[in-house]
Symmetry: C2
């Protein structure tokens, strides 16, 4: 909650217990438009998050207009990530590796699903997630596009460019045919054992770790 | 199911639809002690896995005696991994990276939880998972013990030994104090952004990718 209050979100309403409000200085609460004091029981009834027992904020969702992406850094592209835990974990990992923007296909699971929010561990406040039609988006961005496949250049030896996009595919189908055509650099995570594939959020993390290493 | 039939599990009972049994040759079915033909509806009622519509095997659980661990390779040690999705994903990733043995604390979530089994994507059949009291286990294994902490040697530059153990800590508490004392090599995943931590299964994957790279 401290992270939400300190973020750039516009907070419309803040529901909190008496104890919660006593623990914050008024300067931080000044940016909140409406403050409602409630009991712990009322708060639990309202929220969907299990450990919610001190406060709940109703925030205005940031603009979903696609930003001008930095040409000298990388953004992540998610091609139909369906599992909420995976999406949340990818957002959390993206923040760890300093990725500021994620472009998600329209079929990717909803960012505001409580399971997604929980799995981000607060990173949803600091990483921008935009939903758009990927084929159209990629046709307008002529930058290096790396896509994780089972067959591609070994990420342990690939020389990444200074900026571009990294595409992570759907949990069972991988990267869709339309998006595959937009990938300029197929890459692969080398396998040392027998598993057929990796979890999508794990694959994203390993690609990002290899991208950032000197 | 083909993976289960081809594994070293002892299969006590195999429930399957008529179509399922017609699709297998009798040589493979020969190792099954009891075969029961059921309707698709009956099968769905029995199992807990959503996509179960062709067969269900009742298998004898492998011996849980601790093996003699290979000194020239690595095994994973899980210090209270509680989330079933994380445990399953770690087992799947371990198989990808050729890790054959996982030693889990007694408080680690149960391997036979259906959410764990689902998340392994079949890898639970090929990676051994042993539950034991970790402090006692570690006191009897005088090998290099690498532990993932927020402060330690950068995994991008650490020189891993030829074999040993890699400890992954609990989702919220990290590695417990008793196990910390057994860690001979604290290591850390370098951070390039602002997230406070990484998901436990993501951390395990990144450590394994760095361990295996040449």
């Amino acid at each position: 909650m401290k992270e939400t209050l300190a973020s750039e979100f516009e907070i419309l309403t803040l529901l909190g217990t008496k104890e919660f409000f006593h623990s914050f200085d008024t300067a931080i609460l000044g940016k909140v438009k409406e403050i409602i004091e409630v009991s712990e029981r009322e708060l639990t009834d309202v929220g969907s998050v299990e450990t919610n027992n001190s406060a709940l904020a109703v925030v205005k969702i940031k603009s979903q207009h696609l930003p001008k992406l930095p040409v000298s850094d990388f953004s992540l592209v998610l091609d139909d990530i369906r599992d909420p835990g995976n999406l949340g974990t990818i957002i959390r990992t993206a923040e760890w590796y300093g990725i500021k923007n994620i472009i998600a296909s329209l079929e990717t699971t909803d960012l505001y699903n409580p399971k997604v929010i929980n799995a981000t561990m607060g990173s949803f406040l600091r990483v921008n997630v935009f939903y758009t039609e990927l084929d159209d988006f990629l046709s307008k961005h002529q930058v290096p596009v790396y896509g994780a496949f089972l067959k591609g250049e070994n990420i342990h030896t690939v020389k990444f460019s200074a900026g571009g996009l990294i595409v992570i595919g759907n949990e069972s189908k991988g990267i869709s045919p339309a998006v595959q055509k937009r990938v300029t650099h197929p890459i692969t995570i080398p396998r040392f054992g027998n598993a057929e594939s990796l979890n999508a959020s794990v694959a994203a993390a390993i690609v990002l770790d290899n991208l950032r290493r000197k």
